[in-house]
Structures are given as structure tokens and as C-alpha cells.
Amino acid sequence: MNTQTTAQIIGFLAAMVLLTAFGMLVQRRIYGLIHLFAWQGLFLSISTAIVGYMTGRHHLYISSVLTLTLKVILLPYILNVLIHKLKIRKEIDTVVNVPLTMLIGIALVILSYHLTAPVRELSTFVTRSVLAIALATVMIGLLMMITRRHAVTQIIGFLAMENGLFFAATSATYGMPLVVELGVAIDVLIAAFIFGIFFFHINTTFDSLDVEYMARLKEED
């Protein structure tokens, strides 16, 4: 496989990652969101493995397997179990309407390309254009956290952001040092435990996972 073809394959996978990010932005059902999140993780994992193969950096295989187990299997499974146990409503409301969110998302993609333009010009990596998509994924995750007022969707947005970061770290730069990648993975795992505990606490305290109810802490006049 020559570099040109691999670059094209990675470009394709990057497009798929971005597509799933947009999919999450419009998806209204929680199970659909989790599926999209798992697909995003899968594209991420394949792309990491291909970069590892192309550059001969074998520690990327470990990252790839780690992504596969953590983000494609474990986290979606945990989320499914939690949703089942807590009997959460399947439909979720958005604060901003969907077409507007999409337009903001597109604006964020353009912004990301603009921001990373100087970096792309200077880089010698064939995968350099992935950086813009990674940043766009991070920003769309952020947008999702802002526009959705539900604890589960906020967490999925958070994890999608983490996916974008991981994409930047593995594909755009040919992989960060292994110690960093392992550390990040452990942090994500701890975060998963914490939000699991949180879901129970919020659900028992507020009788709902809608964060709209959490508005007691405000500045008084």
C-alpha cells in the first residue's frame, strides 16, 4: 500500500468521523446516539491501525485495540445498561432547533479549517488535513453539550469530543507517545465510572436526568 492510497483511506475515514459527528448532532433518540458514537469509535480505531501500519509505529496498534474495546464495546455497553436500568425516556429535546444546529456545525467546520490552515501548510505529514476534521469533531461535541439539556447526551457529547482529540493525537500527528495515550484512556475510563455514579445520583435526587432541573445555583440579586 503506498502512502497516497493510505492518505486517501484515512481521508475517507476522517470524513466518516465527521459525518457521524453531524449525525449525533441531529439524532433525537438516545439509542441512535449511542450507535453513532460506537460507529465513530470504530472509524477512529481503523484509522489508527492504518496509520500504525503505514508508518511502522507499532504502538499505534495498542491504541487502536484500546479504542476498539473502550469506545466501541465497553462505553456503549455501559451506557445501554444504565439507560435500561434508569428507565430513561427514549426521546430527547434540544434547546436550539435542528437546522440551526446543523448550520452552526457547518460554521464550526469552516472555522476549524481556517484555524489549522497555518499548521497544515507547515506540516510534512500526509495526514495533516485530518487535524482540521479532528478540531471540528471536538467543536461539534462541544456544541452538542451546549444544545442538549440531558445528562446522557451531554456525556455522549463529552465522549465525542474525546474522540476528536484522540483522532488528532493518533492520526494527525502519527501518534502521541504511548504513555500519554494510555493515560488518556485511563482518564476516560475513570470519567465513565464517575458519570455512571452521577446518573444514579441525579436520577434519585431530581427524578429525571434532564439537567434543566439543575438550576438552583445562581447569582442572587
Binding site: R57, L115, T116, P118, V119, L122, S123, T124, L131, L135, V138, L142, M145, A151, Q154, F158, M161, E162, L165, A168, A169, A172, T173, Y174, G175, M176, P177, L178, V179, V180, G183, V184, I186, D187, I190, A191, I194, F195, I197, F198, H201, I202, T205, F206, V211, M214, A215, R216, L217, E219, E220, D221
Partner: protein, 482 residues
Amino acid sequence: MPLLILLAAPLLAAVVLAFVGDRKYAPEINIAGSAATFIAGTALALEVYSGGPMLAGNKFFFVDAFNVYLAVLTSFVSMTTAIFSRRYMRREREHGRVGHWGMRFYHAMFQLFIFAMLLCLLTNNVGVLWIAMELATLSTVLLVSLYRTPTAIEAAWKYFILCGVGIAQALFGTVLLYFAAEKVLGEGGEALLWTNLIQMSDKLEPTILSLAFVFLMVGYGTKVGLVPLHNWLPDAHSEGPTPVSAVLSGLLLNVALYALVRCKAIVDGSTHTHYAGNIMMGFGMISILVAAFSMLRQKDIKRMFSYSSTEHMGIATFAFGLGGPIATYGALLHMLVHSLTKSSIFFTVGHASQMHRTQEMEKIKGLIKGSPLVGWGLMFGAMAIIGMPPFGVFTSEFLILTATIKDAPFMTPFLLLGLAVAFAAILRKIQPMISGEVPPYQMPLKAAHVPVLLHLALVLALGLYMPSFLNQWFHKAVEILK
């Protein structure tokens, strides 16, 4: 060797405390663990003081004048907080605010948090710095929601989400940093070592580093509690148990600022402009002003002092941004004295709110008559934090002000305005609380003397006299950050 003990002691204590749980002697183990950490920290400081900066563990750890003083400070405040929390948490347990599992969790997570902060300070790897910072956040999230009240859970959720988002930006900044460094230093772990990055900083691509700094500023700035990224801070501080507020305010904010300043040094070396400094000055000044005016309208005592933390971190950030030997020296001193003063204030505030069973300032009265230690302690703490001489905060703020008049005169009126408003806000609110008659609902309590008095004595001593070893240390640190 002291380095290893310094990191192993809190980790070991965390494991032991997770098993000991709610037994009677758990607070004593907590204190012992922190004391061991403090002794190891002091030993490490002596080693670095006599032998100069050192690299250890295959270049994984790096200790110099800048981080070793923060490591000693962290271990010291964690020790005094452990002493304070023995009496404080026992009372909370008796009043049923925390349960059996809550206590087990509290002790173990407290030590894990200290470990995360020390790892953050001592590591040489910019990537590990980020991981440790995230670990410090995660270990305190569930401590903030320890009381399980609706407001506590809301505060913890906000803390989790906002700091998670913020810290993610910092990781993107770190990736960009690696992106730039990889070309110069080659692939692998070497390219993320701070010592390598600072050496090669003038070869790094300035455009990439400028972009990276924006992300690092937003990311670590969220954890420093700078406006407009500060929303989590007053909630987390006011809803969590008081010992946690003391360490969050006194230590975690410092560690986040440390991370930011380390990154700034690399960016400065590459861009050769005042670009990073200007951004920091802007964030710092906005934080000072917004926090000072927010303090005026607070009703909750812990909320007011958490805004005061934002203000003081703003002052330190501003001073680091300003640069130059005097401002940097002032900022280093300010981090030290603010940490000592603010944690002692939280100790007295914690006792005061336990005595009145509320955190509302209007209901807290007659502290000096009710409990002289709490009343006088709060008064002197408040005097120190608003920058009255002869306390140490006055010295550091005076240095920073002098440097501002010299290097950025147009900023002086804003800085003075912020300091004056904060002065008025705190003095006006504190005065009715400490004076007057004891209200009928006030309950007496056994206060923890040692931590409050020790901290205030140190702040006073630093205002009157600067020990030569500390002076030399700060000069070395200023040299590093030049």
C-alpha cells in the same frame, strides 16, 4: 529517593484509607500520610537547594526551583488540611451529613487528589502533566457532591462538565505542541519532555505554538478559574465539604497556573514576542475586575471567598503575563501567600458555618465572643487576603503593582480599582460577622487551632521578613521563567 516517597506516600495512604474506611483512627492515618508527604517534600527541597535542578526516572521527572517550592507548599497545606478535617469531618459525621461510605470515600479521594497534584508538579512530560491534571479533577468531582444534596450534585455536575470541556481544549493544545516538537526533536516520548522543549524552543514553529497557546490558555485557564471560564468555581467551592474547598482553592488553582506558566515559557521561547503574556494579562485583569464586583453581591460566605480566589489567581496570572523579574517574583510570592491565607480562611469559615449551621453571612454573628479562635482567625485572615500590611499578601501585591506602574501604566487604574473593590467587599461583610452578641442559635464547637494559627503566622512572617533561602529560590525561579 525523596521524590519517590513524595509520590508514593499519598498513593499508599489512599489505598490504605480505602480499606480502613470509617474506623476511628482513619483521620489519624490521613494526617500521618500527609505528614510523610510533607517530610519527603522538604527533603526533596533540600536536595534541590544544595544540588540544583535534577532529572530523575529516565527524564520522566524534573525538579527545579519553580516546582519544588510548589510541591512543598502542596504537601504542607494538605497536611494542615488533614489536621483540620479531623475535627471538622467528625462533626459532620455526627450531624449525619456524611455516611459511612462517604467518610471512606472522602479520605481515599483526598489522598489521591494530593497524589495527582504532586504528579502534575513533578513530571517532566507535558502529556503526563495533562493526564495528572485531569486525574486531579476526577478525584475531586465526587468529593464536591459528597453531601448528596440537590445543590451539591448540581455543583459537581457543573464542575465535571465544565472542567472536562476545558481540559479537553488543553489536550488539543498539547497535541499541537507535539505536532510542532516532533519535527525538531523526533518522534517518541522525547518530544514531549519539558526540558527538551525549552532547550529547543527557538526552533519550534511560532505559528503552531501561538495556536497551541490559545487552546492551552482556555484549557488550563478553566482550571485556574479565570473569567469567563470560572462558572464552576464558586459552585464547587460553596457546595463541597470545607476541607475540599480549602485544597481546591489553595492548591489546585496554583497547580493549574503552574501548568499554564510552564507552557508559556515554551511559547515565549518560540515566538520571541509578548504574545502569550498579553493574553494572560487580559484574562488576569478581567478576572480581577469581574471577581471583585461579584464579591459585593454575595450572600454565601464560601461563595464570596471563592470569588476572592478567582481575583487572586487573576492577579498572579496578570503578573506572570506582565513578565520581568519584579512581576514574576511577585507572582511566585503571591501564589504562596494566597494559598496559605485562603486555606486558613476556609478553615475558620468552615467552623463558623458549622457553629451557625448555615453559610449565609447574614445569619453568622458574634464570632469573636462565641469562639475567639474562629472570630480572630477569620478577621486576621480577611485582613491578610485584602492586602493589609504587614501580611505577606501586601508584599506580593505591592511588588506586582510597582511592576505594573513601570511596565504597563495604563493597566494600573484597573488593578487598583479591582483591589479596592475587593477590599471594600470583604471588609463590609466580615465586620458584622465577627462583632456583636452571640445569637441564640449559635452552637459552641471544638475548633482546630493548629492549622489556622500556623498558616496565619507564616503569612505574617512572610510579610515582615523574607528568609534568604526563599529569596534565593524565587530568584532562581525567576531566572527559569525569564
